[in-house]
Symmetry: C2
């Protein structure tokens, strides 16, 4: 028989973040109320404040957590090697990682403006760190003469924008499978930085 009351140590906290993630992604941070989150978690609104000091921190924690994980996931996935191989690894990693976490990624891009200045600065710093890892690959490839790009910082931005685009429309079970889409996007990216 389901408990309506009592301790759920260690369970409610993550659940609050899971529910907030899903609701923020679906309706937007500003449109979601703490009551709505509480209802889906299965607690009273007041109880949420045991797990987060306020709504803003809840959003910030989701974003920072995402970027921390993204950075360490790429650090692990990056096997080094020649720039062209690293670029392909980056492109495929980026698309897979993002397609596996649609809600997280949606929030990371859409809710930047709802972060308070200090929180925004920290999120931007982490995002720039990730972008820097792509710029490094492009710089290495340009030095070796395998990539022809006039500006690696710009090329990195263009590449990430293109790859991000996948997440806005791709749904499993559509006309093309994820592997096909990945290959087509990678092929376009490869050509775009080649002679």
């Amino acid at each position: 028989m389901a408990r309506k009351q009592g301790s759920h140590a260690g369970i409610t906290g993550p659940k609050v973040r899971d529910v907030a993630l899903r609701l923020f992604a679906r309706y937007g941070y500003a449109a979601v109320s703490m009551r709505q989150i509480a209802r889906e978690v299965g607690v009273q609104a007041g109880a949420l404040y045991l797990y987060t000091p306020d709504k803003q921190t809840l959003l910030f924690d989701l974003m920072r957590g995402h970027l921390d994980e993204l950075l360490s996931a790429w650090a692990e996935a990056d096997k080094g090697g020649p720039p062209a191989a690293r670029l392909e690894a980056f492109a495929r990693f980026h698309m897979r990682y993002h397609l596996d976490r649609p809600d997280t990624i949606f929030i990371a891009y859409m809710e930047l403006r709802n972060l308070e200045p200090d929180n925004f600065a920290e999120v931007e710093r982490l995002r720039d760190l990730y972008e820097a890892s792509l710029i490094d690959i492009l710089d290495a490839g340009r030095a070796e003469g395998v990539f022809q790009v006039p500006d690696t910082r710009l090329a990195a931005k263009a590449a990430i924008s293109m790859l991000n685009g996948v997440t806005t429309w791709f749904r499993e079970g559509g006309r093309l499978g994820q592997g096909e889409v990945e290959s087509i996007y990678w092929d376009m990216l490869r050509k775009s930085v080649s002679g």
Copy 2:
């Protein structure tokens, strides 16, 4: 001496849309209150309802207006000719048009989820119409053998994502001018659809 009252026929209506556009872009539709809009327009909250039946319609009108203008602007800018020339025209038109209207574009992409179903369907229809004009160009180029893309629908989505990316970071007065950025992006796009 400034009037605090009286008729402003034909002025307040557009001003309401201008202010709403700016505030929605800056803080998000859900986070902006009708009172906040009224304050910046310089009227009382109740007076807004003379110009829009409700907040949702205000958002929808901004989006539909934007897409109507985008479609007719491209219809006028499209001079025809060989596919490669049309693609370059499209790319440059798209970047310029979007960089000239940052607030409008921000809303068009970020506030889709805040549209009620019927309004969303109409906005999506107009957006697909715009995307179809790019697919047409890619199809024509592929038929002539000047573009090598395995899937023109996918390539259109990838291209638009990449070009849209410019609007998220470009600011006049930065390291590169708008013309340089346009040329670099166009060059990447050109290569990405070539052999």
